[in-house]
Structures are given as C-alpha cells and as structure tokens.
C-alpha cells in the first residue's frame, strides 16, 4: 500500500505548480509571451531541483516513483529539450496573427513534459501509464497547432489519436495481465508465481513491449510517425522525435533493466532491430520533406539505440548515455535550423528543395546544419561519431555480427540521405530562394550556436559524458530462470 509519506522527485511538483500558475494566468489575462516565460522559468526551476525528492523511498520497492542517476539523466535531457522546443516555437506563435488562441501551446508543451517526466521517474505501472497518457493527449493537441494549412494537422492528429489509443490499449491489457499474474503493479517484467500458466507472463511482457514499440515507432509499428510528424508544426515534430522518444526509451530501459534479458525478448529484439534500422533508412531515401526524413532517421536511430540495449556489458551504459545525448543535441539542432527559416506566412523550410544554395546565402546556418547532419550520420567531429562508435563497440563486445552488418549498411544508406541534404545546400541557387526567411530571430540563432557548441565539444571531448548511469536489472535472479521458460 502507498502511505502518506509519498516519495516524489521534486521536479514533478515543481512542474505541476508551474502549470497551475500558467493556467491561472491564462484565466486572468491571456498573454503568449508570459506563458512562454513562465514555462521556461518552471523548466529551469525543475532542472535545478532534479536531484531532490520529497518523502523517503521505501526499501521493498513498492513506491510509485524512483529516482536514480538514470532517471535524473533522462529527466535533464527531457527538460533541456523542452526548453529548446519552447524557444524554437516562440516566434511561431508570438508573431503569428492568424490565430489568437496561442497560450495553450506552451501549456500543452509543459503538460507533455510533465507526462514524459512522470514516465521517467515511475517505478509502478500506474504513474507510468498516467504519464504516457498525459504525454499522448497533450501531443494530440499540439499536433493540430499548425497555423495555415489546417487539414494536414487534423489528419495527423486523428491518426495519432487512433493509433496511440490502440497501442495504449494493448499496453494496458499487458499491464492488466501482468497484474493478474503477479498481483503487483511494480514496473518490471512479470514472473510466474505458483501454478499460473507460464505463457501468461510472457504474453503480458510481449504486449507491454508492443505498446512501447508503438510509441517508440520501431518498425513494424512505425507507420504513424511519418505522417504525424509531417502534419505537425516543426517544433511539435521535434517534441515527438526527441522528448517522447527519450521518455519511452528511458522507461524501456527501466522496465527490463540492463541485466540478462529473457531469451524470447532477445529474439524479438533481434528482428525488430533489423527491421527498424533497415526500414527507417530505406524509407528515408526517397523523402522530399525534411520533417518526414527526420522522422525516418529517428526510426533508424531508435534501431541503433536498441542494439546497445540488447548488448549488456561494460560498454553499454556509456553507449546509451552518449547516444541519447548525441541524438537529442543533433536532432534539436536540425529542427532549430528548420524553424529558423520559417516565415510568418506558414512556409517553414521543411521541403528539402528549398534549401538550395544555402551555403552561399546563409553560410553559418548551413554549416551548423551540415555539422548536425554529419553528427547524426556519425562523422567526426560531431558527437554522433563517438556515439555510433560506442554502439558499434557494444555490438562487437557481444559479437552481434548480424546486427553490426545491419548497422553498417544502415549507416551507409543514412550517409547518402544526410549528405544529399548537404549537397542540396551546396548546389548553386537556381531560382531566387525567397521562400526561406531572411531575418533569423536572435534567440533561435543563440540556440543554434549553443547546440553547435554542444555537438562539437561533445564530439572532441566525449569523456565527460561517459558515466555508468543505467539502472541494474529489475528482475530478481531467482525469477529469471522462470522467465526463460517459454
């Protein structure tokens, strides 16, 4: 039972208070700028309090929340990304005169962040599922926030609503099964107790896994992501690609721990990883829209991350930590650059052909964009180079030869489409590229500079980011043997 002394990471109540303040402020008088500022301040405050908690953790592991280094690390990443995304979206809403109802936007962003944080900190199915749904529902609102062409936004939101609902239902069913088997809502794979049919816990685990793969958009559960990200406004697409993925991946790690995973999980993961890397990269090859391409590449990156997840060992922790950091920084950098070219009348630089000749007209932004793309492709001096190197190291350590082959093929394909964007930026501008914004806002410029510095410094001196942060296996060793039974 949960007692009155609730163990709660302080960041969560801080965010809740911030959101309440934002709500109250909205009720009193609407002001977009104030909403954004309150949101940023709240996130900053929550960042400051990330290591603290209220109440005491219970020894038997029955508390709702958990706070360890892994949770703190992903929470910091999530809050940092949310701040970046708020910065990216600021102008879109502050200067856009076509809609007046805009201070819901930062509010929904904050709610989504709250959901993601709840997932990261949860040690129990209940807060995990609550967090998942808070994140999902606020994302649905966010996806429709497109200014001019409304229809794609609605279509994307509908798609997201239905598919996310289905996946949540599957996940919830799995949770129910797990509860039925073990009688506990602890956030860990269920194990058989007593005379329960041994297939039940396995089925529960697989259903929960499918739910997570859906949200993580691993192939074959990836179809929604491309359309949703394309239909959503650029900052929201970034939110989908970064914040929600980090939250889900963090929970995945928390759920299965990093110890020995049951063999059926290995088999499933093997297939899913191969499909995810190849599917994501192949889908990206023929995209003409930059957000769609980034959606595909984010699918592929999930595949690379899962390789590290599948290879527990000495190098795993560092690999996952630095890969998440590299992915977050580089992806946010790309999205910030895309948003930098957005014009008030709605065109947001998401079509690759619009980027023609950018190296000659905006050399700095084009260079930083290229750096981000190279980092995503895994070329030095970006941080992504070291991250991919670490992923390969974990794979070699565990001799996952097939996966390594897929990693290489995927990387080469990836190289092609990332370089293709750089190639387009370098080609001579044939027609006046008036479609892109000429006046870059200073705060976006600052953000791009900061992210560029992170990517370069992280690539040259990655030693700082290598810390063993992952939680240990959640499965007690005596139940592990029973888990292996199919």
């Amino acid at each position: 039972m949960i007692e009155h002394d609730v163990f709660l990471p302080t960041s969560l109540p801080v965010l809740c208070v911030g959101i309440t303040v934002m709500l109250a402020a909205t009720a009193w008088r609407r002001s977009t700028n104030r909403s954004f500022l309150t949101g940023l301040a709240t996130l900053l405050l929550a960042l400051v309090f990330v290591g603290h908690h209220t109440g005491t953790a219970r020894d038997n592991g029955d508390s709702l929340f958990i706070q360890d280094q892994w949770a703190n690390y992903t929470a910091i990443l999530i809050m940092f990304s949310s701040m970046c995304i708020l910065l990216i979206s600021w102008r879109n809403d502050a200067n856009d005169r076509t809609t007046s109802l805009v201070d819901e936007y930062p509010l929904l962003c904050m709610l989504g962040t709250l959901g993601a944080l709840t997932m990261v900190f949860s040690a129990n199915y209940m807060p995990f599922f609550l967090g998942l749904e808070i994140l999902g529902v606020s994302l649905m609102g966010l996806v429709t926030f497109r200014h001019r062409p409304v229809m794609p936004g609605y279509e994307a939101a509908m798609k997201y609503l239905i598919l996310s609902g289905v996946s949540s239902a599957i996940l919830l069913f799995g949770v129910g099964l797990a509860y039925g088997v073990t009688g506990s809502l602890r956030f860990m794979p269920p194990a058989t107790t007593g005379d329960i049919y041994p297939a039940l816990p396995v089925a529960a685990t697989i259903m929960i896994l499918i739910g997570m793969f859906f949200k993580l958009s691993a192939v074959p559960f990836h179809m929604w992501l491309l359309d949703v990200m394309e239909g959503a406004p650029v900052p929201v697409a970034a939110f989908l690609a970064v914040v929600s993925k980090i939250a889900i991946f963090s929970s995945l790690i928390r759920y299965f721990g990093t110890g020995n995973q049951p063999p059926f999980l290995n088999d499933i993961l093997y297939v899913v990883i191969i499909l995810t890397i190849m599917g994501g990269n192949l889908l990206a090859l023929r995209q003409t829209s930059l957000t769609r391409l980034l959606a595909c590449s984010s699918i592929a990156h999930v595949g690379y991350l899962l390789i590290a997840f599948l290879c527990p060992g000495r190098l795993q922790s560092g690999a996952i930590t630095i890969y998440l950091l590299a992915y977050t920084a580089s992806t946010l950098g790309v999205f910030a650059t895309i948003a930098a070219f957005a014009t008030p009348d709605g065109s947001d630089g998401a079509v690759i052909a619009q980027w023609k000749g950018l190296f000659f007209t905006r050399p700095f932004l084009a260079s930083s964009m290229s750096l981000m793309l190279l980092s995503l492709a895994g070329i030095p001096p970006g941080i992504g180079f070291f991250a991919k190197f670490e992923i390969a190291a974990t794979g070699v350590e565990y001799q996952r030869n097939l996966l390594l082959g897929v990693l290489i093929i995927g990387s080469i394909i990836g190289l092609y489409y990332y370089l293709n964007i750089i190639r387009v930026m370098m080609s001579a501008p044939s027609l006046p590229s008036a479609s892109l914004n000429r006046h870059i806002r200073p705060e976006l410029m600052a953000l791009v500079i900061v992210l560029t510095i992170i990517v370069v410094i992280g690539g040259l001196f990655p030693a700082r980011a290598l810390h063993p942060l992952l939680p240990v296996s959640a499965i007690p060793s005596d139940t592990e043997a029973e888990m292996t039974m199919r």
Partner: protein, 503 residues
Amino acid sequence: MNPLPALVLLPVIGGGLAWLAERILPHTSAPARNASWWVMLATLIVEALLLAMVTFNHPTIRTGPWLEHFSMPWIPTMGIAIRLDMDGLSLSLIWLSLILCFLCACLATRQVTIKSGTFHFLFLTTFTGIIGTFLATDLFLFFFFWELMLVPMFVLIAVWGHEDRQRAALKFFMFTQGSGLLMLLSILGLVITHDRETGVLTFDYFTLAQTHLSPTLSMLLMLGFFIAFAVKLPIVPVHVWLPDAHTQAPTAASVLLAGILLKTGGYGMIRFNIMLFPDTAMYFAPVAMGLGVVGVLYGAWLSCAQEDIKRLIAYSSISHMGFVVLGIFTGSRMGMQGAIIQMLAHGLSAGALFLIAGAIQDRLHTRDMHRIGGLWTAMPRLSATGLFFAVASLGMPGLGNFAGEFLVLLATWHVSPIIATVTTVGLVLAAIYALRMVNRVFLAAPRGDQLPLKDLPVRQMAVFACAMIFLIVLGLHPQPFMTFSAPSPLSVIGVTGQGEHAP
C-alpha cells in the same frame, strides 16, 4: 614543447585564420582577396620549418627508430589517448604532403576566387587530417583523422569542382566512409579481443600488436582493415569512386587526392595490415598481389582509352597504386622500399600532371584531348614540363617512378616470376598511354582555332623545377630515401617479440 601535436594542429589553425582573413578584410581589392592565400602560405612555411626541425634536430637519428613520441589521455574510460608517433615512413610521407601542398599553393589555389578563404580553410583541414593519419598510433585517433579528412575533401569537390561534381563527391564519400566503418569494426574487434585476453581496454597500437588472435579472427580483422585501405588506395574492384572524384575535383583537390590521400591507403596497409597482422598478411599475400596485378593492368588499359586528360591521369594512378600493393605484399624489405619510393614518386609526378591538366583547363576550358592539341608551339614551357612528368610517370630510368617500380618488380620476381612478368605488361601500357597523351596534347600539329595562350610564367616553372629535381634525386640516388623512410619496427616502445616479424 613536443612538435607532433603542433604539426597536426598548425594547418587547421592556419586554415581558420585564412578563413577569418577573408571574412574580416573587405574583399573588393585584389591584395585583400589574396590575404587568405598569404595566410595559407605562411602556415605552410611554418609547418615546413617545424617539420625540418623534427627531421634535422636529431643527431641520433638512426639509434632510435621512432623519432618522436607524444601522448596524453583523451577518453580514459575507454582507454583512448591522443597518441602520436613518428617514424621515417610517416615523416617522409608528411614531407611529400607538404611539398605537394606548396605546389598547390603556388600553382593552383591562388586562382580560386569564389570564397577563397573557405577554400583554403578546407584545404588545410584536409591536410590536418592527413598528417594526423600519418602520425596517430592510437587506433581510435587514427580512425578519427581518417574520417575527418573526408569531410573537407567532400566539400572541396562538391563546391569548387567541375560540371558533375556533386555526384562525384557523394560517391567518393560513400565509398570511403562505408569501407571506413568496416575498419572501425576491425579496430573494435581487435580492442575487445585484447580486452578479453588481458582485461585492459586500450586502443594503443603497440599494445594491441601483442594480442594473440586465432587465425580466423586474425584474417577477419585484417580484411576489415584491408578493405578500407583498398578502397582508398584504390584496388580494382573498389576503385569506382576514383576516376569521377579526380576528374571533377578542382585542381588543388585533385593534387591532394592523387598525391596524398591515396597514400594514406598504402601507409595504412604497411602500418596496420603488415605490421599488426604479419603472419595473416603473408597468408593473404597471394590474393593481394593478384589484386595488385589486376590493378596495374586494368588501370593502364583503361588509361589508354581515355579522352579526358584528368581521367587518363586518374586511371594511371590506379595502375601505379597497383605496384604499391604488389610491393607491400611481397613480404620482403625490398618490395616495401619499392612501394614507398613508388608512393613518393607517384605523389610528385601525378600531382604535377594534375597541376598541368588544371593549367590547360584554365586556359582552354576543356579537358578533352580531341579539342586540345599541339600546345608545344603556343606553350613550350608548359608542354616541356608536361612531357617530363609524363615520361616520369611511364617509368623512365633515372626518375623516381622507375626506381620504385624496378624495386617492386625485383621483389616480386623473387616471389613469383610469373606475376612479375605479367606486371611488366603494365609498363608497356604505361608507355602507350603516356606517350599518347604527350603526342596528342603537346606534340601534334596545333589546331587553328586556338586562342593565343599564355605560357607558364617563370615563377611557376621554378616551382615545377623543384618537383623535377626531387624526382631526379629519387631516381638517381634512392638509397638515402630507402633507409630513411623505412617503417620502424613495433618493438621499440616497451614492446618486445613482435618486432622481428616486421619488415
């Protein structure tokens, strides 16, 4: 202060300054536009002084085979350090690179008027990557530089190249990077095997040379390295990127590609394939030598059929690099020395030929041999220079290329007379394509429609003359180069045992 990190960092810092120089100064007047070029020249001069200091500041030059050593921790948790070592092989290849950079600076890069600062920055950054590759003895650092030099080269080709530049640049990058990933896996495999054996996670070249590998694993790891170097060198089935990249690149980048970048492949084969896996490399040698012969013949044959001057030189490079592979895998000291001499000589002669092709293109705006002809009367100096380097490239006795090819053939003869005999056909073909080019471009009757052309100025002739002198010295008196540029055995820095395997 240790000169090695300075050697690596100087070009990129100079490049940054060159870029700034162009940005800060108003680029309306010609002197201001040349500012970045002057910065680049100054950088190269300082680099040369530094290198001369390293070369001559060692009275005990032959007592310790490794001339310089530098190391500092980089990523301690992974056992990665910034570790640079220099022996005769790396030193001579860095000298070659530097000389070619001077040639480029004096003859080609000044003509770059579009964004010259950025061009010089990228050029020098590539140079940094190349020097780093020649010096790194930490495998992670080696891989880092190996990848790093590709990016600026990609941009150089894609922005300043000729008509079909972007496709060529993409092809170049995909081939070299893709094969680089295989090398990465090999490096990791070696490191992890060593880690399993000893419990020490390290990327140190000398320590890893001690790893005991099963024959299968050793072969697999060596192949990973070999494929990466084979693509860079290039060896025939994986040479596809080279003709396009060389043809489409701007002159300076062509020189850099043919003169130095290809040499990193040969260097890697000597340093990593032969010295890290000596036994496996010898086991693999027949295949490698076969590939080398195919390269020699195939490159020479296709070279005979080219109409584009730059393409012709590019294919001839494939042919000449075949000799390098052959020499490296003969397993004898003589073959290795031949390969190194061949690398140095080919760097100079192919680099100079690309410069001449570039000069012709600047004047006539075409590289098609059908449309160029009989330049001798119009441009005697340029034609004579071209003749000299074409003759050098076909392997005239007395010039560096001949010394290299002769040594390689001699070493090959000891291993297999048949292979040596077949390879000599390549020399005949070399005479055909080189003389055909000379005939068509320089000696044939002049075409009527040619505009009055400006010959090479005396200043540029002086620069070319330096390269000629080098080639002649290399050809007439190769012995000092052979002793000087021999790779150092592994056994010196705290390691024993493996040294005697190394040639």
